[in-house]
Amino acid sequence: MSTDHAQRATRCLVAKVGLDGHDRGAHVIARAFRDAGFEVIYSGLHRAPEEIVQAAVQEDVDVLGISILSGAHNTLIPKVIEGLQSYDAFEDTLILVGGIIPEEDKPQLEEAGVDAIFGPGTSIEATVEFVREHAGSE
């Protein structure tokens, strides 16, 4: 008999990928997610796509938030998504991108599998709300 109560928590990986040292935004999001009651794993700076994939797979996160301000999103983000697919971890992960993403690049990223893109000026509340609504279908 298993009667102990289920205790679900939303797990998020906040990741910085590539040669981009601007992590203020990632820190702000990590804190906001924590305060919202989520479990946040922070990747640290300058991660390679494979490292992000490894962390997302092993930590079995519901949400992968990638912060990127370097302009290399068109190369790096599809690599992360392909990696997740190869481990069968893409379908159940909500993928968010934050940072500077030009308007004309957005359709391509969404096509690749990004669920939402949050540019400058997005309110923290809106991001948290989006995660609450969409994360963790398992």
Binding site: M1, H5, F38, E59, Y87
Partner: protein, 361 residues
Amino acid sequence: MADLSEANARLYESLLEGDHAALARVITKIENRTPGYRELLAALHAETGSASVVGVTGSPGTGKSTLVDSLTKQYREAGETVGVIAVDPSSPYTGGSVLGDRIRMGSTAGDMDVFVRSMSARGRLGGLSMATADAVKALDAFGKDRIIVETVGAGQNEVDIVETAETVAVVVQPGSGDDIQLLKAGILEIGDLFVVNKADKDETAGTVADLETMIHMDASPTAGLSTGHHGPSAAEPDPEDGDTGDDSGWTPPVIETVATTGEGVDDLRAALDDHQQYLVDSGEAAGRRRRQAETEIRRLLRTDLGELAEGVLDRRGGIEAVASQVARRETDPYTVVEELVDPLESAVEESLAAESEASEK
């Protein structure tokens, strides 16, 4: 073996086949206490027991994560696969947490044969050590050669680590007089070895000396007692039982490391292996495993019986209603509990009686 749901049976198969995502999902089920997780663990139990499990504990800032990273790198260089569970506290207010240990696990990042999992306490009492122990089982069944459990030693957790790990390393930093004070209060008993990390600092020699003094003060009287009465031959533990009650044959070594450069980490690795060898040779390993199983059974019993009692309580109108009656002095807590437990007790007696009747036939 318990019956598995179709989804769990698939997860079980995939985990044993070495599917990383399956391992990660099993640990999530364990952490979330998702219905069916116990059946999954029951099935996995038979596959466990081959990994060596090391616990690393110490105050925040002593360099535990970096040390674990360094140690992991060495195990990998020796061709061994590694699982790491990094336990972090969570906010008691929101339940949220930022798990940062992974950042320090940089030197093996990208290597899938190192499986790192971050866990938070999720505000649960006692449940964390249960989830940790269960996650260790999943890693063990997956086939990891080495499993390292890392916890902050700042409360009850560092005691719980003993229930999971075969060998416990306590990490301190030089000049940490307060840490040493803390050790006196309890961690000293759980450390199978002590690591003075950041040993390139000035105060290292003093801290090492302090530790060694304490270890010898702690070890000598018990060593004298356990061998004094029976002579040296009686100190040999009974291999059947294997439970000597203490580690009288083992004096915890003090090892100096600089985790950031990797200096001394090979000494640590050797000392960990020495201790594991000691556990096998002395028969202590069997005793430890049995004690861990005892703790686990007791904890499960308490959880399930507690839930059973809660169910009875709910049918009687819930804790609030009953508590109000007690607060108004309409009844007393002793009578309340007696009334709650009585039906459980008689049900147990009935089923035991039926059981013995059946066995007599």
